[in-house]
Structure formats: structure tokens, C-alpha cells
Amino acid sequence: MNDSINLKVNIGGLELKNPVIAASGSFGFGREYSRYFDLNRLGGIAVKGLTPLPRKGNPPPRIAETPSGILNSVGLQNPGVHEFIEKEIPFLRGFDTAIIANASGNTVEEYESMVEILSDADVDAIELNLSCPNVKEGCLSFGSSAKGVNNVVSSVKKYAKKPLIVKLTPNVTDITEIAKAAEDAGADSVSLINTILGMAIDAKTRRPILGNITGGLSGPAVKPIALRMVYQVSKAVKIPVIGMGGISNGTDAIEFLLAGASAVMIGTAGFVNPMAWVETIEGIEAYMALNHVNAVTELIGGLIV
């Protein structure tokens, strides 16, 4: 780590020592990867999507490989927010990294209660998941219209005592509208993109590969779409943007920063390379050293058009 390089970013009140965050759903609650690298390295960890009560999730198979991408249909399997608070936060607090609680609900009331509960828990920010394509109720149905987003975000805002990140779905006609709705309703930042609804078929068996028929696409395949959306959204809103979708290394992360992201999240790449998060931080540092950039914030939105 080069000492003259400043990697700190501030995401609407959430201070990160570096802009690389583990994306929700790829990283569990951090325990497993703690055996692969020092979690202290990470800017933050967005934990597995939480709901008020435990959820079993969708029937397997829950993953399919597609060209340069994967489809997943986990469907928010999680132990519920209370077990998270009791068992997982103490573990995560052992590390010097931001804890971001990713929260979902079936109804506006559930979202409110999640934000209320998490505001009193020892987390650094709350990421409101309005974009999971793998559950039938709530979530995506709120997230795919400006009205729905405004409704949920303004309802939870009064309970939020932590920076509120609103996670957006790419499965919409105009993501800037949705982002603006989140901003107007009081979001401190937005994160994008969640997965893109897709499908894989096994021609031999003539059946869908996923137990849930459809799933969410992530990984390098979606990078150009994610990059475009981050670019559009960061021009449309004033709050910070957290970019993700297919980031695998430092160069990818730099592209998102240039497009306007203030931080990045990485999910799928970690399945391929468990060191992807750490190597991305190193790659950002190397790029900054090579290009004489002292503060990572200088890169944000630095695209020359």
C-alpha cells in the first residue's frame, strides 16, 4: 500500500477507507472469506440480503453459467434480521471495515420495520434492496417504478438513523427516473446495478436450468450495461453512486469511478477468484500510482467526453 495514496471516500455519510465493497449475496456474512484474506482490507461488506423473518429461498439449482456471466436464483435465503444482529454483527465488528446491512421486505411496513431495527443495530449503513428479481412479492415490484421507490424510501426515511443506500434494479426503461425518485425521497446514495432478469435452458433436457426458471444475470457480461447506467445515474442525481456489475479487477473499478461511481461493489468475480476484492484494491492503487493520482476522489466522474 502506497502511503501517499488516499483511497478514502464518503458515500452520503458512510465513510469508507477504500472504495471496494463486497456486494450483497456474494459474501455471506464474511466468515467464509475471512479464511482467504484479511477482511480488514475491504472498504466495506454488504451482507447477504436480510428480511424480517428467516427465508428459505428458492428451489435448486440456483445457479447457471452463461457466456461471461452467471444467473442466480437464490431468492433471499437468510436467517432473518434478528439472527444477523445477534450472531453476525459481533463477528464482523472484529474487523475494521464498514458493515452494510442489505434489507428487503414484502411490504412497505416490512421495509419500515427493517430500517427501524437496523438503525438501532451496530451497522454502518443500510442498503435497501428494491431490486431482487428472484422473489415474487415486494422488492422488485417496488423498485421498478419511480412511484414505488418513492413510496418505500420516503416511508422508511423517518426510521433511518444510518446512511441509507437505495439499491436499484436495471430491469427498467429509465433508471435515472428511479434514481431521482430515490434521491427525492431522501436516499443518501444509490447503488446499482442489481442483477438483470435472465434465463438459461438445457437443450438436451428441454428444461430451464434454474429451479426458479428465471434468475438474475451478473458478472462481466453485464459490465457495459452497468457502466452505462452508472454514467446516466451519476449525471442525473446529486447523491453519490455506488457502481457494480461485472467488476473483476482494478481496471474495471477505475472505469466505474470514471463513469461517476464513488465506490464499487464486487460479487460474481469473487466466485472465480476469491482474491478479486483485494486485487481490485491493489489494482486501483497501481493505476493511481502510475497516473499520479493522489486521491481516489479525483477519479470520480472523471470521464472525458
Partner: protein, 258 residues
């Protein structure tokens, strides 16, 4: 964490099955029969994910272990092109292997297709006095590792679907016959889901405990992403449990086959 090792031997066992011997002090020391490694095959054609492959046998003295795999799709196809001397990127050993109880004197392993591989090291490691292996293959051309299994077991029964080698028929039928002759203390299953489901039903009739090695598509391979689940019992209720971390080996009674 370093995950790159050298392939010291790459051998083709039949048209589409390959054996790699891989140098790794770490894996060979830690590995238990039934555990898996998660293998990066390559970047061709946009192939991203690692492939889970069982540890087939371990040479703890020389610090090597063997995997055996069959070409099924893109990833294993790429993998089949590796040569001795190549580097291979492997996470492991991962998951829970078979539980071997010293008090068990008579055991039977029942495997089908690519499910036979983890059973070899199990036979080698198990202290039982009487070890039977019942292995099913599609036809004669698919029969592999016969010598190794013969050596590691006291009795080896090979079956083929078409009777072109060994006995004709299903391994579960043979298992029944064997159990009729003589009980066992534990039966280990690894193979197609339907075979394991039938097998678990059979041993239950004889009141014999069993273990099964489950198969599921995987992402992270270490328990973090929750994609590789199978249905397990949890009191009166049930749960989806990660095959990569809590398995691949489960007690036969813990699995809900539906």
C-alpha cells in the same frame, strides 16, 4: 491465499475421463475422503465458474492427490486439455467428507458414474475389516479404476447397465442382494440422485445407517453464496443447506429427496 498447484501427471482413462495427479502438500495433508476441490478450468468462451471435483485419492507421503473427471460440458472440456507440468488453480480441500467410524467392521460403498471417485480414498482410509464396493457403469467401455478399487476393497462388484461387463443391472439391486446375504454397519452412496434416493430407502429397510454425497451446481464453493443447496431435515421442518460447506456428504437420513 495461494491456490495454484502443478499437475504432475495427466492421464486419459477412457474416451472422456481424465486423471490428474496434483502436487499439493496442503491439500494432501488436509484432505479427507469425500471432500472436494473447486477447480478453475480456464477463461475460454466466457467460462467463469470453478467446477467442483471430488478428491479421488491422496498420497500423503508424496504430497500429491488425484482427481478424476469426465468431460460433461465446456469447463471439463477445457480442463481435459491440461498437460503434466501445467499449473492448475484449485481451492480446497472443501466441505465435509465421509465420517469413518472405527467401530464399523463391515462397510459397503455404492457408486454410480462419476460418483465412484470419492469412494476410492474412503475405502483406503476406512479401518473396517470387510469393505465391499458396488460400482455401476453404463457399459464396458466406461469401466475405470477397477484395479485400484479391487486393491482398496475386499470385494468388488461391477455392474453395467447393458451387462457388457460384470453384472447386468442397477447397483441398488446388487446392494439388496448383498445385504440379504450379510448385513453391514454403514453404507456410503455417491452417484445419481435417483440411485441415492433408492439406496437410502433400501438400507432403511435393513435398519443400516448410510451417508450420501450430494451433487449441486456451485458458485463460491465455500458456503458464502447459498446457491448450492439441497433440502435437509431440521426438526419437523426443513431447510436448504449448502452442499459445498455442510456437504457434500450428509447422513442419508438428513436429506429430503423429493
Amino acid at each position: 491465499m495461494d491456490t495454484v498447484y502443478k499437475i504432475s501427471k495427466a492421464e486419459q482413462l477412457n474416451t472422456d475421463t481424465f486423471l490428474f495427479t496434483i502436487n499439493s502438500e496442503k491439500v494432501s495433508k488436509k484432505a479427507r475422503a469425500g471432500q472436494i476441490v473447486h477447480v478453475k478450468c480456464g477463461d475460454e468462451d466466457g467460462v467463469l465458474l470453478r467446477r467442483p471435483i471430488s478428491i479421488c485419492s491422496v498420497d500423503r507421503e508424496n504430497g500429491t492427490f488425484d482427481i478424476v473427471f469426465q468431460i460433461r460440458g465446456k469447463g471439463t472440456k477445457i480442463l481435459s486439455k491440461y498437460k503434466a507440468g501445467d499449473d492448475i488453480d484449485i481451492m480446497g480441500p472443501l466441505g465435509q467428507g465421509f465420517s469413518l467410524y472405527p467401530k464399523h467392521k463391515k462397510i459397503i460403498v455404492v457408486g454410480g458414474g462419476i460418483g465412484i471417485f470419492p469412494l476410492l480414498q474412503l475405502l483406503k482410509d476406512h479401518p473396517a475389516e470387510n469393505k465391499k464396493a458396488i460400482l455401476g457403469f453404463r457399459d464396458k467401455s466406461c469401466v475405470i479404476l477397477e484395479k485400484e478399487f479391487k486393491q482398496a476393497s475386499d470385494k468388488l462388484i461391477i455392474t453395467t447397465d447393458d451387462g457388457s461387463y460384470g453384472e447386468k443391472g442397477f447397483v441398488t439391486d446388487i446392494l439388496k442382494k448383498e445385504l440379504d446375504k450379510e448385513p453391514a454397519d454403514m453404507v456410503f452412496f455417491c452417484g445419481p440422485l435417483i440411485m441415492m434416493k433408492l439406496g437410502v430407502g433400501i438400507v432403511k429397510e435393513y435398519d443400516i445407517p448410510c451417508q450420501v454425497s450430494m451433487e449441486q451446481r456451485m458458485g463460491c464453493g465455500i458456503g458464502a453464496c447459498l446457491v448450492c443447496v439441497c433440502k435437509t431435515k431440521k426438526g419437523d421442518d426443513w431447510d436448504y443447506t449448502q452442499v459445498c460447506k455442510k456437504g457434500p456428504v450428509f447422513g442419508g437420513d438428513d436429506i429430503i429427496f423429493d
